[in-house]
Symmetry: C2
Subunit: 339 residues, 2 copies
Amino acid sequence: MTGIEEVAQAAGVSTATVSRALRGLPNVSTATRERVMREAERLGYVASPSASSLASGRTRTVGLLTPWVNRWFFANVIDGVERTLRSLGYDVLLYTFDVAGGAPRRRVDPAVLRRRVDGILVVGLPLDDDEVASLAALDHPLVFVGSGPAGHVTVRLDDDETGALATQHLIDLGHRVVGHITGVPDRVSSWSPPIGREAGYRMALADAGLEVDDSLVVNGDFDVEGGRSSVKELVRRRPDVTAIVASSDEMAMGAVLGARDQGWDVPGDLSIVGIDGHELGELVGLTTIAQDPYQQGADASLLLLDMLGGQRAPEVVTYPTELVARTSAGPPRPGEGPA
Amino acid sequence: MTGIEEVAQAAGVSTATVSRALRGLPNVSTATRERVMREAERLGYVASPSASSLASGRTRTVGLLTPWVNRWFFANVIDGVERTLRSLGYDVLLYTFDVAGGAPRRRVDPAVLRRRVDGILVVGLPLDDDEVASLAALDHPLVFVGSGPAGHVTVRLDDDETGALATQHLIDLGHRVVGHITGVPDRVSSWSPPIGREAGYRMALADAGLEVDDSLVVNGDFDVEGGRSSVKELVRRRPDVTAIVASSDEMAMGAVLGARDQGWDVPGDLSIVGIDGHELGELVGLTTIAQDPYQQGADASLLLLDMLGGQRAPEVVTYPTELVARTSAGPPRPGEGPA
DNA sequence: CTGTTAGCGCCTTCAA
DNA sequence: TTGAAGGCGCTAACAG
């Protein structure tokens, strides 16, 4: 339990000087700084985070708010965030929020975050306006990853474009009845990724003069099981569907399983396109629109640190996206669907 | 920025009483407690974690040390840990450590953890004896998940048995030359899961009177790409191999891809069994030995909390494991391999 | 059951 | 460039 006092004595200086020397502040002579660092090292001294937070008002901790930690996109964003922030001396505190289908999730409580973190990263968590306002009122840097409300720093894809790209790929292959598996139907926010992707899907269909109808859109809960069951529901409603755009690869892979469950061949009977670039998509030759969540997490962290340093960050950083054409999407069978 | 003082004034009591009332300590009249809680609520008061940690010596934070956050097993353990601890009022601080093939990873530094966390969870991170000793010297409750050194509380599978079970399944199907894809070759610790699984694999072969040889064992780095490339290496070395046990499903799925890359049919030319129970294994009909990492994380958290409460925890909690037979493992082709 | 009084360990003026 | 001193906001004895 060596404290700053012991280091000060060992180095023959005051605690104030130890504090300055160890934190790299100016106005410490090189000789003194080196001596202090040597003694601190020798004694195994590390400042108590609580004490230094209390005194300085800074925690060197970032809060990461997210609905899931074990889904592909989220796990990779978190990985990027953690490694980036840790390498720069920041801790990452995880806060998960259930956004399961039924019950409304726990609300984001700004009071808990107030003196616990220096900055906040909201990863793929749709918030209502009050929640956003209350977080912003904390007056900590705030960065959204995946999607975010207008007026706040956000690192994201162009979801509309991504949804349109996936859909256009199917249209180009000759599909005329294209369904869509979206994520959790979110009623609290107007800016979650599945909303933009669905908009892109609808836009692409409309531009091509094809049918756009609610009967073609089902919810897949953003997971494998959801994708699997939703495809059955979709096919029940619309037996004429020949292709599907899923809002995530996990749902797309679930859709492949669901198609098989009812004896449909992919892509023979049903073409499927996902969005993400999941490593395991190759197992079923999944055609997808790939993104890089690790990089988004890393960059969002850097942006947050810039803001912590008083700099202004660009409001929106849009990430590139790339079509990876494999085998889960092909031309429709001739004679299938309406002529 | 309402502090305890304001709540005390509003409720007409001292700060000590506010502190007691809000933390549910005894010796506060019901009426007083309610009044305090009401005022705290009204004023949006939440105690400053730094201040209360500094004063009490407790942080209500658990450090989670892990090599990866985006691999299946780890992501699910973390999920279980986070949700369990959060629901009980504890924060989770993430610490990742690269254990990539080449360079030695950053060492675990106990000094950093000392006054930052109340307890430590080591998830699937093999440590050398010095690191274990230095963590133990912190005198915080310490729980290992996945595997751990003798003498410390560990939540895990019976890896030997699991490896043997997977291998026995292939032997029962008639295979005589069975290869193994293990995880990162770890030279710092003697107790990581792949080590136990490999031991089980060797034991099962030996018990059946079959060949056990280093040429049959390759490293797959515990990820999809590693599994994919290692299977090619294995087949190059041992063209007579007809089946493989992989130490994780991710490597097993990679192995499926690798087999396909060289035109081998699974299970026609090569049977593959994994260990984990990954949701996406079904995409390729992966036969596997399933475990439940979410539950392991949740239970390890509870154990840690018990220890924090002064209770003694059982040294080892072993989790059940279950063979999920699908289609990636079948009988060898007649005439294939040595008679 | 409640209030008073010291710190917890560090950072940050301010003065030297 | 350095030191002295006063908090940061809360908890933990101890009294009452």
